[in-house]
Amino acid sequence: MNKILDIQDVTVSFDGFKALNDLNFSMEPGELRVIIGPNGAGKTTFLDVITGKVQPTTGRALFKGRNLRNLPEHKISRLGVGRKFQTPRVYLNLTPRENLELSYNRHKNLFATLLGKPSKGDREEIAQLLAIIGLAAKANIPASVLSHGEKQWLEIGMLVAQSPDLLLVDEPVAGMTDEETERTGQLLISLAETHSIIVIEHDMEFVRQIARQVTVLHQGSVLCEGTMDEVQNDPRVIEVYLGEPQEEVTA
């Protein structure tokens, strides 16, 4: 059992609507995988299942061989799953440094958080991280005044600070300028050297920049997998994206 993530026959149904339908998916450690798919394909629900926000109706999700069923979100997170949300979710009333400190904290139980202090080494690591995400100069102002792109970067930084084994990144470049997008791509590629990463993205230009393996989701199951070129030339994918009119309606 050396797969970092193994999703086996997972179905998630909300009042009869199947957001995920008998989904099978697996990933080797160290992989950078991009998931694409039209709206409503189940991409976000897929991340919800991995992070414990949603329980699979049937099937099971294994992380490093461990069944995630009935584990609360914070325990899954401590196992080494980090998640970045679609809209940047940083703590707006805290500074970037404080945001990172909260994520970086290695002992997240009550009393360690209350009584412990970040060590010198921790503070240096956080300073380095601030430099990597380009926020060193803005480390001590509230995150609420950062630009959209900076918030996205800060959230990626928070994710890295958690030092997870698997990063789940939901639409990291939505709303970014071309230059920011390019830099985000480079950041993800360099992170992929030490982490396993799943990226969900709509921006095909960006997908082309970072993707090695692409998985296409459609109506809650995997439509096809392969390199970007293979996927783009797959007639089923073209049909889903360019679409028969009725597909648009279900989306």
Binding site: Y91, E101, L102, L110, L114, P118, Q162
Partner: protein, 367 residues
């Protein structure tokens, strides 16, 4: 700073005010303690509790029960005879012990707050549902105490003025003066405790829970434990405040668990400024002082005034007095009066909007 203000209250104020006024001020200072507790859960952690009257009253009852038991061996408090009770109810017995009472004043409210919090937070009940639940709990406790004449003297409450404490009658000027001093010491203690809790990484996590609790879970923290602890600490603070208030008022009664009173506590914090500890203290003192001033002269308008005050704070000063002050309120007033903001650097830099904006933020952060 805090020490200096405390010294003023400890040394100078007693020289100016007669003891009768000091007693009133002492009561307000005890209310400021409970306001600190409310600020901790509401201002910092986002839990709007409308039930802090429970913890306040429990602290008061614990002390009052001990004081009621200062009787010759074998006797029981007088009110029991009115209802034909001859044997002391079992739960009174431990309150014979003064050390036990001192613990009970804050341990019992903390335990009940912790238990209530655990049940509620574990089930991920949040926001307005939490507020409604705390208010419902308040009504339950009110009725419990109000209806039990035979156990705890029901509606009439327990009187403390003629009991002995610190070597004198509780109601005597001498003891009241000591209680005033004690209140200030404990207020400073509560302030330091809240300051410590909200100052470091723990405090920032509370703010994080307030602003985005699901995100906190995905970062690997279990918010339940943090919320339970904070709620219990807040309950303990309220219990201490209630005990101090009781001996400075001469009575504890179920009226301390009146719905309106618990809402007033929230108003004090809102007026002073949520998530600023100084604001909670200031709000409690100001609102209560205004109440004394107004209700001495026009008893009938006080409630209207209080309602208006709350409306003003919510609509005009959502961050309260301290919040308004910190976000540049003084400059706002200056500009209303047609004065330019004070200049402290090179004008070209001052005119740069971006720099202005960032500087304001940095100043806010520093203050």
């Amino acid at each position: 700073m805090v020490g200096a203000i405390a010294l003023v209250f400890l040394v100078i104020v007693p020289l100016i005010l007669p003891v009768s006024r000091l007693q009133i001020l002492g009561r307000f200072l005890s209310l400021a303690i409970v306001a600190l507790g409310i600020d901790l859960v509401w201002g910092y952690t986002g839990l709007l509790s409308l039930g802090h009257g429970i913890f306040f009253a429990l602290g008061g009852y614990a002390l009052a029960m001990n004081l009621s038991l200062q009787l010759p061996e074998g006797q029981i408090p007088e009110f029991f005879s009115l209802y034909g009770v001859e044997k002391l109810p079992w739960f009174w017995a431990p309150f014979n012990s003064f050390p036990f009472t001192l613990l009970a004043i804050f341990v019992i409210p903390a335990a009940i707050a912790g238990l209530l919090g655990y049940v509620v937070f574990r089930n991920r009940i949040r926001g307005v549902y939490f507020s409604i639940l705390t208010q419902a709990a308040l009504v339950v406790f009110f009725n419990l105490f109000n209806g039990q004449q035979k156990l705890i003297n029901g509606t009439n409450g327990l009187k403390t003025a003629s009991a002995e404490l610190f070597g004198g009658q509780v109601g005597s000027p001498d003891v009241q003066f000591k209680l005033y001093m004690l209140t200030i010491v404990l207020l400073v203690g509560a302030y330091v405790l809240c300051r410590w809790l909200t100052g470091g990484r723990f405090g920032r996590l509370l703010v994080a829970i307030r602003d985005d609790e699901p995100r906190v879970r995905f970062s690997g923290y279990d918010p339940t434990a943090f919320k339970v602890l904070v709620f219990a600490v807040s309950g303990a603070i309220a219990g201490i405040a209630g005990a101090l208030y009781t001996v400075q008022s001469g009575i504890v009664s179920p009226q301390y668990m009146d719905i309106a009173f618990s809402i007033e506590m929230v108003i004090w914090v809102a007026v002073g400024g949520r998530a600023t500890l100084v604001g909670a203290v200031l709000g409690a003192l100001l609102v209560n002082w205004a109440r004394v001033l107004l209700s001495e002269r026009f008893p009938e308008v006080w409630l209207f005034f209080q309602g208006a005050l709350f409306l003003i704070v919510v609509t005009v000063l959502p961050d309260g007095i301290i919040g308004w002050f910190r976000s540049g309120g003084v400059n706002q007033v200056r500009s209303l009066l047609g004065m330019a903001p004070p200049v402290s650097t090179f004008p070209a830099v001052d005119l740069n909007e971006e720099i202005q904006r960032e500087r304001e933020i940095v100043q806010q952060k520093d203050s």
